[in-house]
Amino acid sequence: MAIPSSSTDSSKKYSLFFVISIIVFTLCTEFFLRSVVVKLERSTPKLIDLVYTSKLKNVVVGDSQMYRAFIAGTNYVNLARRGNPLPAVEIVLKNYLHNKKPEKVIIQASPQLFATPQLKRNTQRYDMYFNINTLPIKPYMFERGITEFLSSIKSIKQILKVYNSKSDEDLKANSEKWLSLSLQEREERTLSRVIHHIPEMNSSESIRFQAVYLRIIEFLLSKGASVCMVTPPVTETYLKYSNRYEQFKTAMSFFDEVSQAYNIKLIKQQHIDIKFPDSVFINQDHLAPIVSKQFSSSVFKACFNE
């Protein structure tokens, strides 16, 4: 029997320990991604994790207004996220439903979906993500939409905070800060937000986005979903200022036309039997969690006659 030389022996150990280091790295990274990165508040990894893990067949999609308005319900998956433009919404929806048959789907119908900042955001790189969605087992190490956000973790303190967080921080949001502002400050901020939200319906990019909206509706209907369009509530001041701009009406008429064309209900603020004083908002256009449960249940009732 050949006796291994010390050089062969050390090379063998070297190779073996290197392989072990790869396995350790892979396991630790996977654990870290699953226990910390996907828990980052309002993050893309959190959304992707939701897409991969949720089994719910009722879905809510849109931007942060929808996210906040539907934050507290439990019988649906809330795939809405801050600033999500329509192409991103489409990608998320298609990935979520690729192996599911949806039941009830609520899609946002707000004018700001066609505002210039939204049009510029396009897909938010979502077209590069969801690359492991077709795999039966999903190793998060290979999901770009999760690993890219490793760099957003800056300190051990942050890691421990995220790792130990039991409840969703967003559920603790309230109107306190908003109400502490003077009336004038609130008016100014609301006006500024309304201007930021002015829709642009005639640009080529907006026309493309409108086509995406129709495509989403058709996709959902083709999947056999019961679809409902919802305009999330905003403050009275927001409504007052937005009514001054013709573009908001034009955008809403687009949603009215879609609603009629596809025979889909369009639920607006006035259709919900809830009062919306400033005290139920965390700012000019985002509902506070305190009213979310009541709002979402009213919406589902109004949409699907539940």
Partner: protein, 487 residues
């Protein structure tokens, strides 16, 4: 599949290496088959459509070679070369050709939508060399399996090194046994290459893009940024391609195969002649053996030798891509080589090298002059168009009077970072040993070791750190293509 992708590093590579040695334990032949199928899988990961092309190309060349081995026929050789070049021409140069001909007014301007098949430039050269050597009777009894493996062996398939059958076939024909020393060295070389790519080359990339892809170089770029970016690109290209080549050589070692080296510290060179002996060495070797020497080499006098060098460099430039910039880059290097050869000729003739003044001049000025010349030429290699390259030259030489006042000082954070990083990297490329020197890689003796690297705990610790950092960079930044992947 890229060498710097997680799917390659964490799945394909471990499975292939383990699978190969496992199968090899029972059957050497089956292990080779396993390697062939793994390599074809690796190739088709990018685009399955081109599998037919590569399989057909391998089959046709093997058949032509078999015919040439039996019957030395020049017309069959020419036919084989023309077929190979025609495929390369169609996929790589057709649109450039249409562009040139239409600019002469001979045809209407149009483009053909054709995707460049992966590795076609490298495969074509290897197969032409094989045919030529078959014609010269240098090929004997090569099995189809060995030939397929010679072409498709995945470590060198995509971007070289351009391997020669004489150095690869005997290795593929041998029976291999798992050698842990080679495996450990292969892992080390792979990690070093990966680190060079993702931690150095990719870090330089954003700044290079920022400067070279400026909307208007004359208006947006100042002289300092132009020099910094050009130097950064030279370093980026070096670390990118030499990193890739290190990875390829390292991968070869994991299978017990010694792949030829492609770089030997070219940026330490004190002359352009020496630069071309150490930069993309396997391409230079191919151009020398199959173009320069058949043209006449140095057998037909000094003047013709210079002309042959110029033609070789021009075609070598064009090999990199169908664009005027590559052509001009090759021509500029051809010119540099001519100057270098004339200078060397004068030195020998007048025996200047005996003078102390001359020796001092060489000692202090040869390296900076070569380095600057290389940087200058790479502007052509990087620029989107020849016009953009000339704009960059203008800015570098301070001939641009359009640049706005506020751009006369380095003003971006990136410029400041680069002015620290680039000198450090220059020190590394000038004074540090290269990867093969660290490993003691001896391609000719088919051995490694006896140098800085030892398979001990310290080296293991360092390699694991570099590897972890590289993986972190890949996970957070995504993986970028190797520059030479497109050639």
């Amino acid at each position: 599949m890229l060498f710097n992708s997680l799917i390659f590093i964490l799945i394909f590579l471990p499975l292939t290496v383990c699978g190969y040695w496992l199968v090899n334990k029972y059957s050497d032949n089956n292990a080779k088959l396993f390697l062939i199928f793994s390599s074809l899988f690796f190739y088709t990961w990018w685009k399955v459509e081109y599998l037919t092309l590569i399989v057909f190309s391998i089959g046709a060349n093997y058949w032509i070679s078999a015919v040439l081995t039996k019957k030395k026929s020049k017309s069959i050789l020419v036919f084989g070369i023309v077929i190979n070049l025609a495929v390369l021409f169609y996929f790589k140069y057709i649109n450039f050709f249409i562009d040139v001909v239409s600019s002469l007014g001979l045809i209407n301007k149009s483009t053909i939508s054709v995707a460049l098949p992966l590795a076609i430039s490298f495969i074509t050269f290897q197969q032409i060399a094989f045919l030529v050597d078959s014609y010269h009777g240098a090929i004997k009894n090569i099995s189809l399996k060995s030939y397929v493996l010679f072409i498709t062996f995945f470590p060198q398939l995509i971007s070289g090194p351009i391997v020669h059958h004489a150095e690869m076939m005997p290795q593929f024909a041998q029976k291999h046994q798992l050698n842990f020393k080679l495996l450990a060295a292969g892992i080390t070389l792979f990690v070093l290459g990966l680190f060079k790519k993702v931690a150095i080359a990719d870090e330089l990339s954003p700044y290079v893009i920022q400067v070279f892809d400026s909307k208007n170089i004359l208006l947006d770029v100042n002289t300092i940024d132009a020099w910094l970016a050009s130097t950064a690109y030279t370093l980026q290209l070096y670390f990118d391609f030499s990193g890739y080549s290190d990875m390829a050589v390292g991968l070869g070692l994991m299978f017990g195969i010694f792949i030829p080296l492609n770089f030997d510290s070219p940026l330490k060179s004190s002359s352009i002649i020496y630069f071309w002996r150490t930069w993309h060495m396997t391409l230079s070797r191919f151009l020398k053996d199959y173009l320069y020497i058949p043209m006449g080499g140095n057998r037909k006098g000094f003047v013709l030798k210079l002309i042959f060098i110029f033609i070789t460099m021009m075609l070598g430039g064009l090999w990199h891509g169908a664009a005027y910039t590559f052509l001009l880059w090759g021509m500029l290097h051809g010119l540099f080589l001519i100057i270098n050869h004339i200078f060397r000729n004068r030195v020998q003739k007048y025996q200047w090298d005996n003078s102390i003044l001359f020796q001092n001049l060489i000692r202090y000025f040869a390296w900076p002059l070569t380095f600057v010349s290389v940087i200058f030429a790479f502007v052509l290699f990087r620029a989107e168009t020849a016009g953009a390259a000339f704009d960059m030259f203008k800015v570098m030489l301070g001939l641009n009077d359009l640049v706005s006042e506020d751009l006369t000082i380095q003003q971006t954070k990136a410029s400041i970072e680069m002015s620290i990083l680039i000198p450090l990297l220059i020190i590394v490329v000038k004074y540090c040993p290269n990867s093969q020197q660290i490993l003691g890689y001896q391609h000719k003796n088919l051995d490694v070791g006896g140098s800085y690297w030892q398979p001990n705990q310290l080296w293991l610790f360092v390699m694991v750190c570099l590897f972890y950092y590289s993986l972190y960079e890949i996970m957070t930044n995504g993986y970028s293509e190797f520059i030479y992947r497109f050639f």
